[in-house]
Amino acid sequence: MVAQNIAFGIIAAITVAAALGMVTTRNIVHAALFLVAVLGGLAANYVLLTAEFIATTQVLVYIGAVMVLFLFGIMLTRAPIGRIPQMTGATWPVAALSALALGGITVYALIDRFGTDSLATDNTVFRTADVSDSVFSQYIIPFEAVSVLLLAALIGAVVLARRD
C-alpha cells in the first residue's frame, strides 16, 4: 500500500508538471512532447487503478496514433519550430482566473464530499475479458455507434482536408 502511494506521488508530480509545461511553453513541439509525458503518466495511473487494458489502449491510441497526428498537424501548418513569442493571447489573465476558479471549486467540492474515503481495493479486479464481455453485451449499441462515428470522422476528415 505504501509503495503504491509513493508511486502515485511520483507519477502525479510528473503528470501535473508536464501539464503545466504544456500550456506554458513557447515551443509548440515541446508542448507536444510534454503531452506525451502527461498521457504516459495517466497510463501509469490506470495501471495503479488495476485497469491494464485501458492503460494499454492509452499507450497505443494516444501516444502512438494521436501524437503522430498532432505532429503532422504542427508540420503541415508550418508552425515555427523554435520559440514563438505570441503563444498566448491577450486574454490569458481571464483564462487563468477562470481555470483557477474552476479548479478551486472542484477541489473544494471533492474534498468536501469524498474527504479521506479510501479506495475500495479489495473489490473485483476486472480483467480484460470482463471489459470485453461488457462491451459486447451490455454496451453493444454504443459500440456500434462508435464504429459509425469513426467512419463518419474518417470520411469527414478526408473531405475537409483534400485539395480540390
Binding site: 501539464a19 485501458i54 490569458w92 479506495l119 476486472f126 454504443p142 475537409l160 482536408a161
Partner: protein
C-alpha cells in the same frame, strides 16, 4: 490509496486544460488542451469504476478514447483547412462574425 487522490489529480489536469483552451492562440495547441481535459475525465471514470465495483467505468473510458481520436482527426482537418485558406491558425484572428 484514497479515492480522492485520483479525483484531485483529474480536477487539476482538467483546470490546466481549461486554461490551455482559453489562453493559447495556436489552433493545434487548443486541440491538445482539449485532449488533456478528456483524459482527466477518463481518470475519474476509471477511479469511480473501481470504487463502485462496476466495469462500466472502464468501458466508458474506452468509448471516450475512441471519440477523442475521432475528434482530433476532424479537428486537425479543420485547422489544416483554416491554414490553407487564411495562412494562419491563430484562433484570435478569426473574427469574421464580428459586426
Amino acid at each position: 490509496m484514497l479515492l480522492n487522490q485520483f479525483l484531485l489529480l483529474g480536477a487539476l489536469l482538467f483546470a490546466v486544460g481549461v486554461y490551455g483552451v482559453l489562453a493559447r492562440r495556436n489552433g493545434v495547441m487548443v486541440l491538445m488542451s482539449i485532449e488533456l481535459m478528456l483524459n482527466a475525465v477518463n481518470l475519474n471514470l476509471v477511479a469511480f469504476g473501481l470504487q463502485h465495483d462496476v466495469v462500466s467505468g472502464q468501458v466508458f473510458a474506452l468509448f471516450i478514447i475512441a471519440v477523442a481520436a475521432a475528434e482530433v482527426g476532424v479537428g486537425l482537418a479543420i485547422v489544416l483547412l483554416l491554414y490553407r485558406n487564411r495562412k494562419s491558425i491563430a484562433v484570435d484572428e478569426f473574427d469574421l462574425m464580428k459586426g
